[in-house]
């Protein structure tokens, strides 16, 4: 009888605390977040959602990505630079440029939740060098 009582009480206490936990950690509104933080067409085509890039436990804790995280998928600075290898001759390859070589962080130009910018155009007239930065 005592054993049954103990089991009953523990079950009761357990179910109470379970209810409390689920009340204090509400599920983020993923759809709202996806609208506020839109992603680029090339990532959307791959059906990415937030957790593909962000590893923090809740969206409130999400930090801007470091270069290493982009390279988890994009390989390495050298690999990215090789895609525009034909621009090396004039040192105008944005991923292997005269000033920065392979040292540029991705986010100097590329942004996911807002338009990207072209760092080179801060100082140079790029004219025929390059088109839009995705």
């Amino acid at each position: 009888m005592k054993k049954l009582l103990i089991i009953a009480i523990s079950f009761f206490v357990f179910s109470m605390s379970w209810a409390t936990i689920s009340e204090t950690t509400p599920e983020p509104n993923w759809q709202e977040l996806a609208q506020e933080y839109s992603i680029k067409p090339h990532h959307r085509a791959l059906k990415f959602d937030c957790v593909m890039c962000h590893s923090e436990s809740t969206p409130d804790d999400y930090e801007p990505l470091e270069t290493e995280q982009c390279l988890d998928c994009h390989g390495s600075s050298q690999k990215v630079a090789n895609r525009l290898k034909f621009m090396d001759a004039n040192h105008t390859n944005p991923h292997n440029s005269f000033h920065d070589g392979l040292d540029l962080d991705c986010y100097e130009c590329h942004a996911e939740h807002e338009p990207s910018i072209n760092l080179c155009t801060r100082c140079h007239e790029v004219g025929n060098w390059m088109s839009t930065v995705k």
Binding site: H99, G101, D103, E108, C123
Partner: protein, 533 residues
């Protein structure tokens, strides 16, 4: 006020105004100090180092290297708030005036001297400089040249007709040399040296300096920073990045700095509000320094009692040498009229301010500099002319070539009739040496008219690219307390962040020697400071 204090004050005044006679403020028993003292025991330090250098441009890197070399047993950290290291140095040409180099010897210049360089510098400084500081830079050029060579930097031998050395405007001798690949070469080679040879030096990106902490004796003991800071290059005023309400990125940390803090944090040229407060029209000026050149660091220094000087002084840079402007005419594109003497004694400030003023009257549209072929032939710096013709001379640095004035006028949206009329007037007046703006015919050599096709034109705009203002230092690169006038223990400033070496204008090819000579001094002295803890 107590009787005691009154008497002390009267006797203080009696001593007169000579610097030697001034009683240090601390001796008067006044409790005002320039900073709020920090109790080191009240801080939970997250990290510690012997020497912390703020800024990874030429000044900061050289200071860090010298500190690490001076004492291999100490820990040196070079921290930069940007994710792109190298500051403005990375994207500058970084040419430098060197007295007594092997390159100078080879072209037979044997009568150059630091005294002559000092004279050239002071002619531009017009009395604003502090000679003991200027002498440090003027005397240290050969040492710096060799230091850079020893640390991997190569010099460009293609300039100066293959000699590697050139005589630039304002210099009495051919003495200016270029690193091969400009500032990028210097920064990359110095970074490489650190990675390969200095195990006690660490470079950290994205660390923003927020506060400099001094203890109750006034010694610098540490800093408050934000790690993983993200500078945002999108705001209209890049200076907004220093406002924690606007840019909240990063996590607060406290670094204990045991021996010395070296500020190699550069200028504030990109900070519209800060520079606009000093000089009204400067709010709208362009700048091609690195975007991170904002006022956060100088504000942190001022906030902890470092004495700022020369804050209203500024230096314009043009994409072309100032002394090559006079060959052409500067016109307002809407009226076709000239508005300034394009010679103006080669005073870049006068010409620059005239351009900004004229632009203010036409909603910020650019004024246009027009040459004819005679003017192009007179160009001192054919190297730069060709860079501009190739479109590789930076923002508003491009020079366009036109077969006719009609094509030129169409390109810049100008009325060809008024343009031609104004050019005609200029040619007629100059023939009689009676220019409306008193431009002297004697200076123009063969370019005394705009008449011979093809024509060349550019949108000449002054860039605010050097901030003379900064923290006053001693020849030992020590910062000065604004209230006591004493040096601040543990505090060093070098390069553009410091002030006093130059003045009204900085002579061309001299920022490097200031960064380098004082960088060396600051690094060595910081390493030798007695640790406070």
């Amino acid at each position: 006020m107590s009787e005691n204090k009154k008497n002390t004050r009267r006797s203080f005044l009696k001593m007169g105004l000579g610097a030697a006679a001034i009683v240090p403020v601390t001796a008067l028993g006044l409790s005002n100090s320039a900073f709020a003292a920090t109790d080191p025991k009240a801080i939970k330090w997250d990290d510690e180092m012997d020497v912390l250098v703020i800024g990874s441009g030429m000044a900061g890197m050289i200071a860090g290297i010298r500190a690490a070399e001076t004492d291999p047993s100490i820990k040196v950290v070079v921290a930069d708030k940007m994710s792109r290291l190298g500051g403005s140095s990375l994207i500058s040409g970084l040419n430098m005036a060197v007295v007594g180099s092997d390159l100078q010897e080879k072209i037979g210049v044997t009568d150059d001297s630091w005294e002559l360089l000092l004279k050239d510098i002071e002619k531009e400084a017009k009395g604003y400089n502090h000679r003991p500081l200027t002498e440090v830079a003027a005397k240290g050029t050969l040492k710096l040249y060799n230091f850079l060579k020893d640390h991997g930097v190569q010099y460009d031998m293609s300039i100066g007709g293959g000699t590697g050395v050139k005589k630039l405007g304002g210099h009495s001798r051919a003495r200016c040399v270029w690193p091969a690949g400009g500032g990028t070469e210097v920064i990359k080679k110095l970074q490489q040296f650190c990675a390969e040879k200095l195990s006690n030096l660490e470079i950290r990106k994205k660390v923003l300096l927020e506060e400099i902490l001094r203890n109750d004796e006034g010694r610098v003991i540490g800093v408050k920073v934000r790690e993983k800071y993200r500078f945002n290059s999108r705001p209209e005023d890049l200076g907004d990045n220093d406002n924690p309400e606007i840019n909240k990125s990063g996590k607060t940390k406290y670094y204990k700095v045991k021996r010395g803090l070296v500020m190699g944090s550069g200028g504030y040229n990109q900070d519209r509000r800060f520079r606009g407060d000093e000089v009204g029209t400067m709010y709208n000026a362009a700048s091609t320094t690195q975007p991170g050149a904002t006022a956060g660091a100088i504000k942190a220094m001022i906030n902890s009692g470092f004495k700022p000087i020369h804050m209203t002084l500024f230096r314009f840079a043009f994409p072309i040498p100032t002394e090559d402007i006079l060959w052409g005419i500067l016109v307002n594109p809407r009226t076709g009229e000239r508005f300034v003497d394009e010679y103006s004694n080669n005073d870049r400030q006068t010409i620059g301010m005239a351009i900004l003023e004229e632009r203010r009257a036409i909603d910020g549209e650019h004024t246009v500099l027009i040459y004819d072929q005679k003017g192009a032939d007179e160009y001192h710096d054919q190297q730069r002319l060709h860079l501009s013709l190739e479109g590789k001379n930076g923002t508003n640095g491009t020079i366009w070539k036109f077969e006719t004035l009609e094509e030129l006028a169409i390109n810049f949206d100008m009325n060809i009739a008024t343009l031609k009329a104004n050019i005609e007037k200029y040619n007629i007046d100059m023939e009689k040496d009676q220019d409306a703006f008193h431009k002297p015919k004697s200076k123009l050599k063969t370019a005394t008219s705009i008449s011979k096709a093809p024509y060349y034109a550019m949108q000449l705009n002054p860039r605010y690219n050097y901030a003379q203002g900064g923290a006053l230092i001693t020849p030992e690169a020590r910062a000065i307390d604004v209230v006591t006038g004493d040096t601040i223990p543990g505090a060093f400033v070098c390069g553009e962040a410091a002030a006093g070496t130059y003045g009204y204008i900085r002579l061309t090819a001299c920022s490097t020697i200031d960064c380098g000579t004082f960088g060396m001094v600051a690094g060595e002295n910081a390493a030798k400071e007695q640790p406070w803890s």
